[in-house]
């Protein structure tokens, strides 16, 4: 992973922070030592940290030694020899990249001898390099060309007729980049980026000497190799050997703007490199503190959806869902929506309408939607997709630690000795953070994975020790209790931490509970299916770790005991004192880009922004004063409750911003029936998504590239989203909400999202120090940011908890009702894969389809054999909720009795099978456990056939609506 200058880091001040430029390559990584060394380079005195290379020290003083194989996100390699220097008292010409600084060292970077040496080296390189610079894609951004210029190469005495690689064949298998080995100088930067930055080890140098060449896998094509298309190699390449196809087609970008990725909860910073208002490429930004210059295939490459032909560019309305759309002006669409909402409220009452905020939109937009609902609709019927993913995190962490958020920075993993990963699949769902995890694992950290599946993190190259606890789906709490039982019964707890930081009464009660024999690994073994010895071993490793950190995902929350499990995780961290410092903590890995933010911004029906309960008179009073309206002091409906109320006839209208409930929410047939029961559905989205097919008003949304705002990632980091192109339909999403509110008679006046953030800061104690100016100054801010913490708080709970003492909670295991039976003998669990994102609305409209163009059912060979199933067979999967048909993939990643699928394609109907079972505390659906039967079939399910018909009909309505408009215009 990329090392970079951190101004807050001790000892770094000597490196002249004012001149640290995240767009410059300093040649070798920053040294984290605190000792300072002073040396002279070309007579200039420079002070740097011990361990810094001469190359970097010189670069820090803006003495730029030519280099080709060095880059500051890779360890020094010393192969190109271009960075050779002379050092007083030493013989020869040492490579400055591999030479660490020493006190009093006197370095000469330029003289005649050095110049000649560098020219000779360049001459050799260029003798086997095509001289097509003018027509080369990297023209304008080629390090080889730059260095040739810098060393003053004027002739190639060897000629070009000898043996060479100029006819080497291009590999165009990857849809996003081309590998042109004829331009390769075998500097190994791509190989090292794949290893050190990404951690995949897909590339290697094959052969020796003149025959050396870069190959993917076992000399496979890039696409057939283990390559995950993260693009780190493309970014690392100093020539045009690995080049984005976009650059090949469009040429070099002419300006760039730093913004934040809109895919997963890692929240990577990118430079959007532009030509006018067209994005040429996204390059991860070295100054982004979450990703530190790395990216995945989605963030770097899958942005083409923003200009896809399917984008909705004009507002549309219709009276009912069985008629074609009519394209209308913004004014007419907003007027129509407001009229419909008012009619519904007049007929069915104030509480008959509600809305869903988007965890993909910005904080400012989310804040406005919940404000619209509370202030203009006059009720608290607001919810967000966090309901169906991390709502148990909010409940569980608030109960035990006092704050509904993860406790660490991602970077804190550099200090982790043992990572306990529960119900998360970081290499697929949080790939950039997975690379950080893998780097730490290569450095020797231990890994414990509690997951029904053998996730890819367990296959990390150079992994040392790893323990896999393959539990049965639905038994998380039983497992976490048996881990805690081991810690407490074997005396592995941190007594000092417990005494000083935990609530006595709660601890004693919990200790008595957890020590009961029924919570022992031996007693729980028959429930979890995990060997008691392995559980004890894992508990010892975590408790004795030094620094033990827990990372968890939706495999924890999406259960009937999701909230209980989150509390069980917090209990583990509290009992072992693994909280409140670097390298430890409780780290929920958030699914969508702004799930943390949408929760912070008051999207939940019971909480105003900043997790302030609606029944809290003081807090509500402040909002009432600022918003100038009376607010309801009772919570509103949560998403599943809205569906139930819709079918019961009391809930009649819904405003959905950037969310596709018809595809992502469980029990699809129930959701569809609920949507059909509504009198008015207003969908604001960039595409005609599944939910929009049930809508009466379709308001065009804008992508993250088209607006200003902020996202908050899984580390509570507030990052700026910056507009790089105008919104396709003319309005940023927040402007649409403002217009709707004004049409409803509740006035909103904002001219820029920064004004919305100012309002948020004035009403939300944990955001009181946040403003756009402050974000420009600091780059990003981890909340809480207030008077006590003016620069935010990277690590939480260092001194105390927001509730004073840590609260260990009783976590009784209660089996889910959703269990394997004779009729439904298998357990289905659902998840995601690397190349697709959530409902796939974005990634399905990119070349990422190359990797995953259909959802499949993974089934263990044993279960497959029992049913006579072969690879690729059509399988009918039935649950008590419904039936769907998917193709079989036989896989040992699953344990016998468990099947797995993804939900990225709407026609797959993965959620036709998932049920209404949910978390007891928050109603978060139990996506991870559905009892099913699987059998061979020959045709799609009834639901799938209906889906096809309905989809065709709705696409037709859209097409006719568009044609109608163009005819009107031409008349």
């Amino acid at each position: 992973m990329l090392q970079h200058y951190d101004p807050k880091q001790k000892g770094a001040t000597q490196q002249n922070p004012e001149h640290m430029d995240f767009n410059k390559d300093y040649g070798t990584p920053q040294s984290l030592s605190e000792n300072l060394i002073t040396l002279q380079v070309d007579g200039v005195e420079i002070t740097v940290t011990e361990g810094t290379s001469v190359l970097r020290a010189a670069a820090l003083a803006d003495i730029n030694i030519p280099k080709l194989c060095a880059s500051d996100n890779l360890e020094a390699f010393g192969s190109c020899r271009l960075c050779a220097v002379q050092i007083e008292g030493r013989r020869g010409f040492p490579a400055s990249c591999t030479t660490p600084v020493e006190a009093g060292m006197k370095v000469t970077t330029q003289n005649e001898k050095i110049g000649k040496l560098r020219r000779n080296i360049m001459e050799l390189y260029i003798s086997d390099h095509p001289l097509d610079c003018l027509t080369c894609p990297s023209n304008g951004d080629c390090e080889l060309q730059d260095v040739a210029g810098a060393v003053g190469l004027r002739e190639v005495r060897y000629g070009f007729d000898g043996h060479n690689h100029l006819d080497a064949e291009k590999d165009k298998s990857n849809p996003y980049f081309t590998f042109d080995p004829s331009k390769c100088i075998v500097c190994s930067r791509c190989v090292r980026a794949c290893e050190e930055v990404q951690g995949t080890f897909a590339l290697t140098v094959d052969g020796r000497g003149f025959a050396s060449k870069i190959v993917a896998g076992q000399d496979d094509s890039f696409l057939d190799s283990d390559c995950v298309s993260c693009g780190a190699c493309v970014q690392a390449c100093p020539t045009s050997t690995l080049m984005e196809n976009n650059v090949i087609e469009m040429g070099q970008p002419e300006h760039s703007i730093v913004t934040t990725c809109a895919y997963c909860g890692v929240g990577c910073s990118f430079k959007a490199e532009m030509k006018g208002d067209q994005v040429v490429r996204m390059v991860p930004y070295k100054g982004g503190e979450a990703n530190q210059g790395h990216s995945c295939v989605k963030g770097r490459f899958a942005f083409g959806y923003a200009t896809h032909k399917d984008r909705i560019k004009t507002p549309m309305i219709r009276d009912n869902i069985d008629e074609q759309w009519r394209e209308v002006s913004w004014e007419d669409a907003i007027g129509f929506a407001a009229k419909r909402l008012k009619e519904v409220q007049a007929k069915y009452g104030r509480e008959s309408v509600g809305g869903i905020t988007s965890s993909r939109c910005t904080n400012e937009e989310t804040y406005l939607v919940q404000k619209l609902i509370r202030a203009a609709f006059g009720n608290n019927n607001t919810d967000t997709c966090a309901r169906v993913c991390h709502s148990p995190t909010g409940y569980g962490l608030k109960t035990t630690l006092g704050e509904s958020a993860g406790t660490q920075t991602f970077d804190s993993i550099r200090h982790t000795d043992t990572m306990l990963v529960i119900g998360a699949n970081p290499t697929d769902a949080h790939p950039v953070f997975a690379s950080m995890m893998r780097r730490r694992l290569r450095e020797g950290a231990q890994l414990i994975v509690a997951d029904p599946r053998k996730i890819d993190l367990l296959k990390t190259p150079h992994l040392k020790d790893a323990i896999h606890l393959p539990l049965r789906p639905g038994t998380n709490v039983a497992l976490v209790n048996s881990l805690a039982h081991t810690i407490m019964s074997e005396g592995l707890e941190d007594k000092a931490f417990i005494a000083s930081r935990c609530d006595d009464k709660a601890f004693l009660k919990w200790q008595a509970f957890i020590r009961e024999e029924r919570n022992s690994p031996e007693a729980m073994q028959s429930i979890t299916g995990v060997d008691a010895g392995d559980v004890r071993r894992a508990a010892r490793v975590y408790a004795n770790a030094g620094n033990g950190a827990i990372f968890y995902g939706l495999g924890v929350t999406e259960h009937s005991q999701g909230s209980t499990m989150v509390m069980g995780i917090a209990n583990l961290a509290l009992a072992t004192g693994n909280i409140g410092r670097e390298g430890v903590g409780v780290n929920p890995l958030r699914g969508q880009n702004n799930v943390q933010g949408s929760c912070d911004m008051g999207s939940f029906p019971h909480e105003l922004p900043g997790y302030q309960h609606v029944a809290d008179d003081e807090a509500r009073g402040r909002f009432e004063a600022a918003w100038g309206v009376k607010l309801d002091d009772e919570p509103g409906l949560r998403i599943p409750n809205m569906f139930d109320a819709a079918l019961a006839g009391s809930f009649k209208a819904l405003y959905v911003q950037g969310e596709d409930i018809a595809q992502s929410d469980p029990n699809t047939q129930h959701v569809e029936a609920a949507l059909k029961a509504l009198d008015c559905v207003i969908v604001q989205d960039i595409f005609l998504n599944e939910t929009a097919k049930f809508a009466h008003v379709l308001l065009p949304g804008s992508t993250f590239l088209e607006k200003n705002g902020t996202f908050t990632n899984a580390e509570r980091r507030i990052n700026r989203v910056r507009k790089v192109m105008p919104p396709l339909a003319g309005k940023e999403d927040w402007e649409v909400t403002v217009a709707l509110s004004n049409a409803l008679g509740y006035e909103m006046n904002y001219s820029h999202p920064s004004e919305i953030m100012d309002e948020i800061a004035s009403l939300t104690p944990s955001f009181s120090g946040v403003s756009y100016d402050r974000l420009e100054e600091l780059g990003s801010i981890q909340w809480p940011c207030n008077e006590q913490h003016p620069e935010g708080m990277p690590i939480m709970h260092v001194e105390d908890f927001p509730i004073g003492k840590g609260n260990l909670a009783i976590t009784e295991y209660v089996a889910t009702d959703e269990r394997a039976t004779r009729r439904f003998p298998l357990l289905l669990t659902t998840g995601r894969i690397l190349s697709q994102y959530n409902v796939g609305a974005q990634t399905r409209r990119t070349e990422n389809q190359t990797w995953h163009d259909e959802d499949v059912l993974e089934i263990h060979p044993h279960d497959a054999e029992e049913r006579g199933v072969n690879q690729g067979d059509w399988l009918g999967i039935s649950s008590r909720a419904g039936q769907t048909v998917l193709r079989a993939v036989i896989s040992q990643r699953m344990q016998p009795g468990v099947v797995y699928t993804t939900f990225h394609h709407p026609g797959s109907g993965a959620n036709v099978i998932t049920t209404d079972s949910s978390d007891w505390a928050t109603n978060c659906p139990e996506y991870k456990v559905t009892a099913v039967q699987v059998e061979k079939v020959t045709q799609p399910s009834e639901w799938q056939k209906n889906f096809e018909d309905f989809n065709k009909k709705q696409q037709d309505y859209l097409k006719k609506g568009r044609r109608h408009r163009s005819e009107e215009v031409s008349r």
């Binding site: 919570p635 019961a648 209404d916």
Partner: protein, 79 residues
């Protein structure tokens, strides 16, 4: 297989009760009532209270008591 709104509310209330057996029944009832009060919408509470008052056959014991407690809290003035 979809449940009606009332069926769903009953399942949810019973589930809260099943997951929160505290030291005494009184504590459990208090906890369940508070949880529902804090997280459920007005209409959901009203519907379940009405059901409990009519006998509430499908509610388990603790859930019934919690809903009745909730009913008292909502009917007493000042709450």
């Amino acid at each position: 297989m979809s449940h009606s709104q009332l069926d769903q509310l009953i399942i949810m209330a019973n589930q809260i009760a099943d997951n929160n057996h505290l030291d005494t029944d009184a504590e459990s009832v208090e906890f369940i009532a508070t949880h529902i009060k804090k997280f459920w919408a007005r209409s959901m509470k009203e519907e379940l209270i009405a059901y409990a008052k009519e006998g509430g056959d499908k509610l388990n014991v603790l859930a019934t008591q919690a809903v009745m407690l909730l009913s008292e809290q909502y009917s007493s003035p000042g709450t």
